[in-house]
């Protein structure tokens, strides 16, 4: 088998630690898309819509200033071909489209209705195809490849697969209701997304290049039990956590909770910037993904001071 897992194992070893990365993914240095999440009307925690249901997909954008991202965007939702790799391919005409042609700091989102079963046929997923730009004018093409923004400094194209509920199998987004974030041992509450470092009560971190302990303590209900399949027995979901910040740097871009892990406390050391001219807000993003299409996130803010 070409993509032989054993060979991938060998190649994985050779890929690790080979020099410094060209860019560090855990630092937000330009307009970035960090994730998307679906909420279903009447059952907002579920990630797998069924035929005929209405739903909404919201995107998480970040700006290096630490403030809510200002962007223009365009996105569509369609029934997707049953591809397994590559950018999703629409099988039919879009189910819904939306465009924001003036810069906005509202969270980009799109509402749609899932076709009924007869129209879906054997489709297993929907796809959201989107373009986000910091400025300029959107030109929508026949597909994502031909869609662009003229005059923009930063263009981000993105896709999000929505897996449809099948039979008794449904999946929820990771439940972060009971999750607690800590920084240097202190509970870190969510605050305003717009921070005034002169007045707001947020953690204040010196720009001294020192490492800080950031810890995400997930609640017991964060993940579900995956049903057994042809290969595996039933087991808890594994979780992938992306941690990013607009200043400073997390030690690693990803953390994980594996099926056999009973410890749901995830440590993510973060190093403050070495110097700064004046007190600046810094935003932190923690995006939690299960391995079945469910996504949730937490955001926090702080101030870094000279």
């Amino acid at each position: 088998m070409n993509r032989n897992l054993f060979m991938s194992t060998v190649l994985a070893i050779s890929a690790v630690g080979c020099g410094d990365p060209l860019k560090e993914g855990q630092r937000i240095e330009e307009l970035r898309v960090l994730g998307a999440s679906i909420s279903i009307d009447g059952e907002p925690g579920r990630a797998t819509p069924a035929a005929g249901e209405s739903a909404n997909v919201e995107w998480l954008l970040a700006d290096p200033s630490g403030l809510p991202a200002q962007a223009i965007w365009s996105m569509t939702v369609c029934v997707a071909e049953s591809t397994t790799f590559g950018v999703p391919i629409c099988r039919d005409e879009p189910l819904a489209s939306v465009e924001q042609s003036e810069p906005s700091d509202a969270a980009p989102s799109i509402a749609f209705s899932v076709p009924d079963a007869s129209e879906l046929g054997d489709a297993k997923k929907l796809a959201v195809l989107a373009i986000f730009c910091d400025s300029g004018t959107i030109e929508v093409g026949s597909d994502l490849d031909s869609t662009t923004c003229h005059g923009a400094d930063t263009i981000q194209k993105a896709s999000f697969d929505i897996f449809l509920a099948s039979g008794d199998t449904a999946n929820d987004n990771p439940n972060l209701d009971d999750a607690v974030l800590e920084i240097d041992g202190e509970t870190w509450e969510a605050g305003s997304t717009v921070v005034d470092c002169a007045t707001d009560e947020v953690p204040r971190l010196p720009a001294d290049g020192q490492e800080h302990d950031v810890r995400l303590v997930l609640g017991e209900g964060v993940r579900e039990l995956k049903p057994a399949d042809e290969v595996d027995d039933a087991a808890p979901e594994s979780l992938q956590i992306s941690q990013l910040s607009t200043l400073g740097k997390f030690d690693s871009r990803f953390s994980g909770v594996d099926p056999e892990d009973s410890n749901l406390s995830v440590e993510m050391p973060w190093t403050a910037p070495g110097e700064i001219d004046s007190a600046s807000p810094v935003s932190f993003y923690f995006v939690v993904r299960d391995d079945r299409g469910g996504v949730s996130w937490l955001t926090r803010t702080a101030c870094v001071e000279p």
Binding site: N2, R3, L5, V10, I13, A15, G17, S159, R289
Partner: protein, 812 residues
């Protein structure tokens, strides 16, 4: 092509004589060095060489007590009867080996005759050194006569010289002279290249690996260090479109850890042959080329041992006779990577639970029932394993997380019975069977499978007349595989740049299944010589594949015409077929309705013997592939379809130099290999290398010193440009957006490898130290491109830097 030992079929005659007239019937109990003997049409009318004049020989000076010693030599008797290219086959140590090599060139022979014409022949000749007899007490005679010193019995058929003294000349040892004349049959393919035992482990840059040595031959593409886990790239064909066999049976796994070192100890190989195209109907189920590795028989003269220590791995080997008709060899090897792996691992990346380590073993037993029947039993196997635990998910691909482990092993048992029934029928029966098991885990992804495979072949060569020989045979490959798999679905084998996408961006599949692969085949081939120097080889092969329920019939034809004794024209045309890979038929991620794909191969060329030991060749080739298996866009159902084509064309220039003191290979291939997937535009093959130059030279300075160099210059491999990236919100990774497939090329590759060796020969053993330097001038060859996580930045990635490998080997 130069006639040398080791070609199948080898035609030979056993001759035992202690009279001047050679050509006497073979004695029944000759402990002769083995060669299959066949009296084919090429040999009928064959008269072996005859000793005309033995040289004056003398017992060399030895330390300690003089003792009898026998040295078995292989020598070529050219068409003028001169002895050339003497090599020690079974030595007796120094100073006997050197003395024998020195003496034999002074012998004179009458050349072998084929159909009345003198032809070169390679024979084996055993020189027996008998220690001088003590001088007798001088008799009270008026003229005492000192007895002549006893000469080393030349074991020749020539009548021993009689000294005019009372001392009779010693009678030659009845078993001291034996000559096995092996007159190489003309090949059954238009083109055959071979690397012999003597050179197999000494080609610089190959780390002593015989399968890697094939890359110095014309038509074989370059692959990067540990880049290719399968057969070599032969005349623009995908690795899996070619086959590598060991004594005719496929090898389950060729390399440790996906290409690091081959699993079979090269010191047990006699020869590696390459058939780059238009190969015989004997081989089927591939559309590329064939590499046939032939094992040697264990030595029969005495106990031998070998121990080698190097930076990469260590091995030990022993071989010895058991009685008169049986011999055995066993070898084992272990890697050294795990001893240093911990120190190479960057901090805070992963914990090493079990560092990568590999083992392999080989064993063989050869029994000669008599001069007509030989049985060879072999067992060999391999085991690779590693286990790591990642501290955090990998930055580039978070699917690489938690435990990453892999283990793969196979064991093979092989039996081969070769027989001669009278002068007109030869038979070869082979059976090879054994288990294979593999498991791998990467985070949530894992696979495990166990399997058993069986390969069987039965073939007969029938000599209907002086001009006609018919070869018929059956072979079959049967395999069962039971497996569980959770991971990405298999992509198109070649030409799909998305195989480089992070695992996290790919939807996984789950499957547990048991497969049965049954592939029987039958073939027939006629060797017809309307005139002595013209060989016609029409053949046909039929194959059935249980997986596709398809029959294929492949007619083939090749010819060789000797314009002169030294110039040969050759050509071939034929059909070749290959069933889809077994996993491409699994309906969860494959297409059970796939069909075999086909290739038309043509070639034409000329071979020229410039001088003894020096040959050159020029050949052109064209191949057309159709019904290729290609993937569907995005891997959507039915996942794979027979909608691909290919065209490969080019020319090869080759030169081979092989003498006692040096050897060299030059290979230059100018070619183009293209593919068309579905209805898309034609594109370059992933490993298309327009220019491919390889030059190897090795020189034996004497006194145990030898040195060699290997220079390689190839066009850079094609690559697909990345135009940008699309963010995948499901995995928090980016998918590359590609330009036209293989539309640009990396810079030209060039590399120089060096090897130096020093051997110290002692009485009963020798010690060899070698130093091999790969990429001696530290060329910064671009082997790929590294991208930032969002594909907005890129930089070239270079391959292997200068790399020394030091080793020491003791041989008993």
């Amino acid at each position: 092509m130069r006639r040398t030992l080791g070609v199948t079929p080898i035609l030979g005659l056993f001759i035992l004589s202690h009279s001047p007239a050679l050509g006497q019937p073979a004695a029944p109990n000759t402990p002769a060095e083995d060669a299959e003997k066949t009296a084919g049409p090429e040999n009928q009318g064959l008269v072996p060489p005859k000793l005309k004049q033995a040289a004056e020989v003398s017992y060399p000076e030895v330390e300690g007590e003089p003792h009898p010693a026998a040295v078995l030599l292989a020598i070529t008797i050219d068409a003028e009867g001169n002895v050339t290219d003497p090599q020690v086959v079974e030595g007796a140590g120094e100073p006997f080996d050197s003395k024998a090599l020195e003496l034999i060139t002074a012998f004179e022979f009458e050349p072998a005759l084929q159909a009345g014409k003198p032809v070169p022949a390679r024979i084996q000749y055993r020189l027996v050194f008998t220690p001088p007899q003590p001088e007798p007490e001088p008799k009270p005679e008026p003229e005492p006569v000192a007895p002549p010193p006893a000469a080393a019995a030349p074991a020749a058929a020539a009548a021993p010289k009689k000294e005019p003294a009372a001392e009779p000349a010693p009678a030659p040892d009845e078993e001291s002279f034996e000559a096995v004349a092996d007159v190489e049959a003309p090949p059954r393919e238009p083109t055959r290249h071979a690397i012999e035992e003597k050179e197999l482990t000494r080609i610089p840059g190959t780390r002593g690996d015989a399968l890697r040595a094939v890359e110095v031959l014309p038509g074989v593409g370059r692959t990067g260090f540990a880049e290719n886990e399968g057969p070599p790239i032969i005349r623009g064909a995908q690795p899996y479109e070619s086959m590598v066999t060991l004594d005719g049976a496929p090898i389950p796994l060729l390399y440790h850890f996906g290409g690091l070192t081959s699993v079979y100890n090269s010191h047990l190989l006699e020869q590696v042959e390459l058939y780059p195209g238009n190969f015989s109907a004997r081989y089927g189920r591939v559309v590329g080329g064939v590499v046939e590795a032939k094992t040697r028989d264990p030595r029969t003269d005495r106990f031998h041992g070998m121990l080698e220590l190097s930076l990469i791995d260590n091995f030990v080997m022993v071989e010895a006779p058991i009685g008169e008709n049986t011999s055995f060899a066993v070898a084992g090897r272990r890697s050294n990577i795990d001893f240093v792996f911990d120190k190479l691992v960057p901090e805070d990346t992963f914990d090493v639970v079990a560092a990568p380590v590999y083992y392999d073993y080989q064993g063989m037993l050869v029994h000669r029932f008599n001069q007509d029947h030989k049985l060879k039993l072999q067992a060999y196997g391999s085991y690779d394993t590693l286990k790591l635990v990642f501290s955090n998910p990998n930055e580039e691909d978070p699917a690489l997380r938690d435990t990453v482990e892999g283990e793969i092993q196979f064991h093979k048992f092989q039996a081969q019975l070769t027989s001669q029934f009278g002068p007109t029928v030869e038979q070869n029966i082979e059976l090879a069977a054994g288990p294979i098991a593999a498991s791998a885990t990467i985070g949530d992804l894992h696979q495990e499978f166990t399997g058993l495979d069986l390969h069987a072949r039965a073939e007969w060569g029938i000599f209907a007349s002086d001009q006609v020989r018919l070869d018929v045979g059956f072979d079959s490959f049967v395999q069962t595989i039971h497996g569980k798999y959770k991971g990405p679905p298999p992509p198109q084998e070649e030409g799909d740049p998305s195989v480089d996408q992070p695992l996290g961006t790919i939807e996984n599949v789950n499957v547990e299944d048991t497969l049965y692969i049954v592939r029987p085949g039958a073939y027939a081939e006629l060797s017809y010589r309307p005139i002595t120097n013209w060989l016609l080889l029409p053949g046909v092969r039929a194959d059935y594949d249980y997986g596709t329920s398809a029959w294929v019939v492949d007619p083939r034809f090749s010819t060789r015409y000797g314009i002169t004794d030294s110039t040969t024209l050759k050509g071939g045309v034929g059909m070749y077929s290959q069933p889809p890979e077994y996993y491409q038929l699994i309906d969860v991620f494959g297409n059970p309705d796939l069909e075999p794909y086909r290739a038309l191969q043509t070639s034409a060329g000329v071979e020229q013997v410039v001088a003894d030991g020096f040959e050159v060749g020029l050949e052109g080739f064209y191949k057309y592939l159709y019904n290729r298996v290609v993937g569907t866009p995005g891997g959507a159902p039915p996942y794979f379809i027979n909608d691909g084509e290919g065209r490969i064309y080019g020319a090869e220039v080759s030169a081979e130099l092989k003498t006692e003191s040096h050897f060299g290979y030059l290979a230059y291939t100018l070619s183009k290999s293209e593919r068309q997937d579905r209805d898309e535009d034609w594109r370059l093959f992933d490993y298309d290398q327009t220019h491919n130059l390889s030059v190897v030279y090795s020189y034996d300075f004497g006194s145990g010193w030898s040195a060699g160099a290997h220079f390689r210059l190839t066009s850079g491999d094609p690559e697909t440009p990345v135009l940008g990236g699309v963010y995948d919100a499901n995995s928090d990774l980016y998918r590359a957006v590609y330009g036209d497939v293989n539309s640009r090329r990396r810079p030209t590759f060039h590399q120089l490898d060096l090897r130096g060796e020093k051997e110290w020969a002692f009485e009963d053993w020798s010690l060899t130290a070698y130093l091999e330097i790969l990429n001696a001038y530290n060329a910064q060859n671009v082997e790929g491109t590294t991208y930032s996580f969002d594909y907005t930045k890129q930089e070239s990635a270079t391959g292997l830097p200068i790399f020394p490998n030091l080793g020491i080997r003791g041989e008993l």
